[in-house]
Amino acid sequence: MKGDFVARVISNARAAELVSDISLELPPEASGIDPRPGQFAHLSVGGLFLRRPISIAGFDGESLRVRMIVRNAGRGSGAIASLEPGESVRMLLPLGSPFPVEDLAERRGKSGGAKKIHLVAGGIGAAPLLFAADFIRALNEVRGGIFSVESFAGFRDEASSFGADEFGRAGACRLVIGGLVTDALEESLGRGAPDAVLACGPEPMLEALQGICSANGIAAYASLEARMGCGVGACLVCSRRARAGGGAGYRRVCRDGPSFDLSEVIFK
């Protein structure tokens, strides 16, 4: 179930330089929604014509609170990052194809026992992966340690970093400041490859990760960004090229994604 709801801002805390950690409460009519890591919300921002797609960084079904971690990188994200408690925001959610966590739960692990998932985050890409970490942690409690999680979070500098403590609650977390988070991932392969990688971050990072995962036969899923129109898959402005079957075609980031099989993504 998805819908367009007016949410109320509960809190907005500074997570890092230019990064805001915002909690918004949805109204009772939203109680049927069930957002998954990798999905996003399409926010209507005062003063701007188009809505802005923002990854869902967390969700609590009982309180109907949605978490968003937003980096001030432009007019739209800047307006969202500076939302104050008490303000109202209209948002359409949950949208998009999530990270295939349930699918991964059904697959056989490489070494039997718990399936090893690596989360690879670059900058603000950590936002949907924090949801993934928390979601997997909760799944482990219910299904008895079905996954083991290791996170790799890379940031440009100390001031922009966030989330390391939270990633640490789901499993080991390797924080990379100033270097390439993909280097850290590659080093870790010596200790045994994961069953799957979930990633979100800048395109060059994802492209490098694609190379590493294909060279090592690791299943990987990346959450992509795109300028969007409707956010539901009807207008086709967010289409991006991806491989499918023998050829290549356009896929909608808002609906066929944002989570894509990384091996199918075509980088320019």
Binding site: D4, L50, L92, V232, L236, S239
Partner: protein, 303 residues
């Protein structure tokens, strides 16, 4: 109780609200949010004979009170539409308008011929899409080519033919008359206005296609003026569009001469635009003592 029913080329519409082509796909996505049969009709994504993948990103740019798009007519092709989409829409009780684009006259003839034996209610001829490099823009730009495209389609269509006019032309009234003279059963206007956006940091156009079509409230004054001029020039029904965002806008276009309206960009900013504007229209009619919505058509007073 107001009657919102209207008639377009002999096709009964339950209300004058039509979802505009290009913003609504084939209805699947919005059907997940509400019952899409609430629309008077749905004009589906522009179809071409062969599937098209469309333009590379970026295909969208935000503007003041609007947006530019250069999707490039990405669509699965007419055969796939007839096979995979039309039966579903027809069984949902949706009145389907098939929007058809082409690069040359043969394209239009073939497309129209294929659709003639289907459950499509009306064929909308897209001769004005400014994003197609191989000729789409040319048809809509001059009255002569408007007439040629219309004649070519007319001869092969057993369905009512509605020609979607481009605003990127010197005289919209002349273009409207050209469509009427060539046998169009109705005209719809306006399509998007060709525009451009530039990124100062990269010093490049925002759109990969360089130019794109401007839509949304930004174009409403131009659209209203053109609908009024076109409706004054022809006797065939006119469907108006361009930045319609609420029931008062619907009323404005009807006063200017539109028998029905198309709502496109509003769906992008408000996914519930369809049912919202329908409810607003019912309220507007009640508040203003309108017994039959058709009394608004062409009722603009200019004396």
């Amino acid at each position: 109780m107001t009657s919102l029913e209207t008639n377009l080329c002999g096709v009964r519409l339950k209300n004058p609200l039509i979802a505009a082509s290009g913003t609504f796909g084939f209805g699947r996505e919005y059907d997940e949010l509400y019952d899409i049969s609430c629309w008077g009709a749905i004009s589906v994504k522009g179809l071409t004979n062969l599937p098209r993948s469309g333009n590379p990103p970026h295909r969208i740019a935000e503007t003041a009170s609007g947006m530019l798009n250069s999707v490039g007519l990405e669509n699965p092709g007419i055969d796939a539409f007839i096979r995979d989409e039309l039966p579903r829409l027809a069984s949902r009780g949706v009145t389907v308008i098939a929007n058809v684009a082409g690069s040359d006259l043969d394209d239009y003839r073939e497309a129209v011929r294929k659709l003639s034996d289907t459950e499509t209610a009306i064929i909308e001829l897209n001769i004005s899409c400014p994003n197609v490099k191989e000729g789409g823009a040319q048809f809509g730009a001059s009255p002569r080519s408007v007439g040629e495209a219309t004649s070519a389609a007319r001869r092969h269509s057993s369905k009512p033919l509605m020609v979607k006019l481009s605003p990127n032309t010197a005289d919209i009234a002349v273009a409207a008359r050209a469509a009427e003279d060539a046998g169009a059963d109705a005209i719809s206007l306006i399509n998007t206005i060709t525009g451009m956006a530039i990124d100062v940091r990269t010093r490049r156009p925002v759109l990969a296609n360089v130019t794109g079509g401007l839509s949304g409230p930004a174009i409403k004054p131009v659209a209203l003026r053109m609908v009024w001029q076109a409706a004054s020039a022809v006797s065939i029904p006119v469907v108006g569009m361009g930045g319609i965002a609420d029931a008062e806008d619907v009323a404005r276009f009807m006063l200017a001469g539109a028998r029905a309206v198309m709502i496109g960009t509003a769906n992008i900013t408000d996914p519930m635009a369809g049912p919202r504007i329908l409810a607003e229209l019912e309220g507007f009619a009640r508040t203003n003592g309108i017994a039959d919505i058709n009394e608004l058509v062409g009722a603009l007073e200019t004396s």
